[in-house]
């Protein structure tokens, strides 16, 4: 295909549609366009967007590290499930609301959730890096195991695939800053997992682009042999990157469960409901840029937030349809814009003994 659409053309078309919507919405407030506009502009949509973005953004940042290092971690959906479930159940065991050793039970649950996700990532790393298993199959296995294990454990404890409620994180309000007009209520009067997400995006960008480790991760995914001959152990870099993906996904899963859901529904696709896969679509869409992935997660979470608001207003927009949007976007981006550049050695186990 010689005449692909340029990124500018696509952005232009999207911009034109947005302007059209804005004009139509302002001119006819009673129309669909008007209703959508008022929803998109409402603070509650924005608040919901930030919270819904947490699992997507954090899983995406984790996925970036794994994939940049050459290990495609398609199992981050499973890591989200594991961390969400284990954080809820540990909080439940400790008794919701109280505190132990100066930390509230929620934070203990949170820590165990992250740990559980990291452990799952470790198993995935061993299988993919040391045993050179097919990464896609191993990743699917992580997802399927988590998908079965969480409701199974829940059934043993609660006699139901859904856990009991354990309450949620309280908002943390930063004095003064939260008074800033427009942005203050969004960024500085919000539950802790949102701060973690924002901090993780900045930290992820810094780690990847400014530290020696970040450069090794990139080299490990592009040309592991070059890294090896430069005297850096590819295996260790890949282990670290995959474990990082477990940590980030764990922050996302546990943060989402304890900050947004307060319970874990294990039926069907579970409470995570494919957000790990949306995260993969998000980082591909963002071309492996952590801040871009944060922006992408806002986009997809924003659509979800709007859909929920629309439902509250009595408009029935099928969730399933909204869920297809991230994947459709990624296909559009990959096909027409073609800027996403997979790491050269992604998916290939590195065999250092070859020579």
């Amino acid at each position: 295909m010689s005449s692909g659409l340029s990124r500018r053309t696509v952005l232009g078309a999207v911009g034109a549609l947005a302007v059209l919507w804005l004009v139509a919405g302002l001119a006819f407030p009673d129309s669909w366009a008007g209703a959508l506009l008022s929803i998109a502009a409402s603070p509650s949509t924005h608040t919901a967007m930030l919270r819904l973005a947490v699992p997507i953004a954090l899983a995406a940042i984790g996925g970036i590290f794994a994939e940049k290092s050459g290990v495609i971690n398609i199992g981050i959906e499973g890591l989200l499930i594991v961390s969400a479930f284990s954080s809820i159940i540990v909080t439940f065991w400790l008794g919701s609301g109280g505190s132990t050793l100066a930390l509230s039970h929620h934070w203990w649950g949170f820590a165990v959730g992250v740990l559980a996700s990291t452990l799952f990532a470790l198993i995935f790393a061993v299988v993919c890096i040391d045993f050179k298993a097919d990464q896609i199959i191993a990743g699917l296995a992580v997802w399927l195991i988590a998908l079965g294990l969480a409701p199974f454990a829940s059934r043993i404890v609660f006699d139901s695939p859904n856990t009991a409620g354990v309450g949620r994180f309280q908002n943390v309000t930063v004095p003064i800053l939260s008074e800033i007009p427009l942005l203050g209520y969004l960024l500085f009067d919000t539950p802790p997992q949102v701060y973690i997400m924002l901090g993780a995006a900045a930290a992820g960008w810094y780690l990847l682009n400014r530290t020696a480790f970040g450069r090794w991760v990139v080299a490990s995914g592009e040309n592991p042999k070059a890294l090896d001959t430069a005297g850096v152990d590819v295996r260790r870099v890949r282990y670290a990157a995959v474990l990082l993906s477990g940590i980030f996904a764990g922050l996302g899963g546990a943060g989402f469960a304890l900050g947004q859901l307060g319970t874990f529904a294990g039926g069907g696709e579970t409470a995570i409901g494919g957000r790990g896969f949306i995260a993969i679509a998000t980082y591909l869409f963002a071309n492996y840029h952590p801040i871009g992935a944060l922006g992408g997660s806002f986009l997809f979470a924003g659509l979800e937030a709007m859909q929920i608001q629309l439902q509250n207003l009595g408009y029935a927009v099928p969730t399933e349809l909204i869920r297809t949007i991230p994947y459709a976007t990624v296909i559009v981006v990959l096909v027409f814009v073609g800027k996403t550049q997979l790491p050269e050695a992604a998916g290939e186990p590195y065999d250092g003994d070859e020579e």
Partner: protein, 535 residues
């Protein structure tokens, strides 16, 4: 960079930077190095010359810590060392520039050079990028390099990438630099530049070991030459006191005919004609811009050029692997533009592909299976949809015997053979198809001198039999020695079609680099005749 000042003092003959003492390296079933001695003087360029599989690279991998020697001592700077991994060798001041560059394409020059040795700041929290840039600038000043640390590797020419590799080794404090087949990927001009770089480095006290199978290079650039044959050292000579013929004999173990080229043959009807062939890439960039060519029966048309100037695409358009965006290809008077690959093979087009791994062989298949590729439907081997494996086996064994494929084991998987032997097998399979036209791309790439001689002889024989040969190669000796007519391809166009005898290597090099040799350079006497035609 632990160059102490007194390194500049004149050294005695005995000042060895590297001494490999009685190195033996055994692999299961193979002795790759057998009691090899190598003494490399400080500040010298030492060539390690030998055919494919002579054990050159194995020996250097021992020195670089990739292999542990079965027997023998590695002495660097007068101290015996045991390198377990490259890191140890790097720490001892030994750097290696691999044949396939160990660079990360989307990363910058600075990031590549510092990789694994990044200076830190803020307590290790950040890479001190200013310091890297400063140190690279210092190195560039000192050795007369010119690279932009902020450029990405993929923006650089191959020659510049090689200089980045050298800088990478110097950055790590290498005093001994091992270069593995450094000229394999360079244009003649870049080769000259490389010789300049080597000279500059040795003047500053660095020691160079370079691995090569090209006689001319060793003669031209080295102070000493050690020749390896079948894993053993067969001698160390001074290039001033020896001849190419002597060296070739040492390398191969018998007398070698270095001159190629054949007596003129009456050419017949045009076998291959291409008119205005245009090939574009996915983005619509023209890779082949309207090439016309004709190869007659009994003729070899050579195409010289630096890799990546449209040769691959031109060949794919001719052999039917790619549909040209415009133009016409005729075979023996018939327009075959719309023919499939299979039809072209059946009509008598043989193709020695440029990349034996990607296009020539199925690596996990054994040689019997590989022997039938391309002939799987020919009546010779196919009986009603089934393949006559006994017949194929005979054929495979014929090819193995005739083309000296080693080890001669038809049941071994293609991937278990060395590159040169894989190449011999592919060449044999294609040439024994009884073709009317042979499209040969780098037919002797990676093949040792003895087998190269045989493949050349075979191509000339086909020409005598009245077959047409289209020969694409970046090896100037080869295209000049074999071709009846010589075309130079640059950025998708033939910039010149000439008589190979009427053009000097220097002029060819300029043409390949996209420059027209001006009158002045034509008048200049051709470089030392002993150099001519070596590379």
């Amino acid at each position: 960079m632990n160059d102490s000042g007194n390194d500049r003092n004149p050294r005695s003959q005995r000042d060895l930077a590297v001494h490999l003492d009685g190195i033996t390296k055994r692999f299961p079933g193979v002795v790759a190095n057998d009691d090899v001695d190598l003494r490399v003087e400080r500040g010298s360029v030492h060539a390690l010359l030998g055919e494919n599989g002579a054990g050159k690279t194995t020996l250097m991998n021992v020195l670089y810590g990739l292999y542990e020697p079965t027997e023998g001592r590695v002495v660097v700077d007068g101290r015996e060392r045991a390198f377990d991994r490259p890191r140890d060798a790097i720490d001892a001041g030994v750097g290696m520039i691999h044949q396939h560059f160990m660079l990360v394409d989307p990363m910058t020059v600075a990031e590549n050079i510092a990789m694994g040795n990044e200076p830190r700041k803020w307590g290790g929290l950040a890479v001190d990028r200013d310091r890297i840039d400063r140190e690279i600038a210092d190195l560039c000043d000192r050795y007369g390099f010119d690279v932009d640390p902020s450029a990405t590797i993929e923006e650089l020419s191959v020659g510049a990438q090689q200089r980045v590799e050298i800088l990478k080794a110097l950055y790590r404090g290498a005093d001994v630099l091992i270069l593995d087949e450094p000229t394999a990927v360079l244009t003649p001009q870049e080769v000259e530049d490389l010789y300049g770089v080597l000279e500059e480095l040795t003047e500053q006290g660095k020691t160079i070991i370079f691995i090569t199978h090209k006689l001319g290079e060793a003669m031209h650039a080295a102070d000493r030459i050690t020749i390896l044959r079948d894993g053993s050292s067969v001698g160390t000579v001074d290039p001033a006191g020896t001849t190419r013929e002597d060296l070739a004999e040492l390398m191969v173990g018998r007398e070698v005919l270095l001159e190629t080229g054949g007596e003129p043959v009456e050419t017949g009807r045009p076998i291959l004609e291409a008119e205005n062939v245009v090939v574009e890439d996915d983005r619509g960039v023209e890779l082949v811009s309207g090439i016309d060519l004709e190869v007659r029966a009994g003729e070899i048309l050579g195409v010289a050029g630096v890799d990546g100037n449209g040769q691959s695409e031109l060949i794919e358009a001719i052999t039917g692997l790619q549909t040209p965006d415009a133009g016409r290809v005729s075979f023996d008077g018939t327009d075959v533009s719309a023919w499939s690959r299979r039809q072209r093979i059946e009509a008598g087009m043989a193709h020695i592909p440029e990349d034996r791994h990607e296009q020539g062989l199925v690596m996990p298949f054994d040689l019997v299976e590989n022997a039938v590729l391309g002939s799987q439907r020919s009546p010779r081997f196919a009986r009603g949809g089934r393949i006559d494996w006994a017949g194929v086996r005979d054929h495979a064994e014929d090819v193995i015997g005739t083309y000296d494929v080693r080890p001669p084991d038809a049941d071994a998987d293609a991937e278990s053979f060395s590159g040169g032997n894989q190449q011999k097998f592919v060449v044999g399979r294609e040439l024994e198809r009884d073709p009317e036209l042979v499209v040969a791309t780098h037919p002797t790439r990676g093949v040792d001198i003895g087998s190269t001689e045989f493949i050349h002889e075979r191509l000339l024989e086909l020409r005598r039999e009245g077959k047409a040969v289209l020969l694409v190669s970046s090896n100037l000796d080869e295209v000049r020695g074999l071709s009846d007519r010589l075309a130079v391809i640059y950025e998708g166009e033939f910039v010149d079609v000439t008589d190979p005898a009427a053009v000097t290597e220097e002029e060819l090099g300029l043409l390949m680099a996209g420059e027209q040799p001006d009158d002045r350079s034509r008048e200049r006497p051709a470089s030392n005749p002993a150099d001519g035609g070596e590379r």
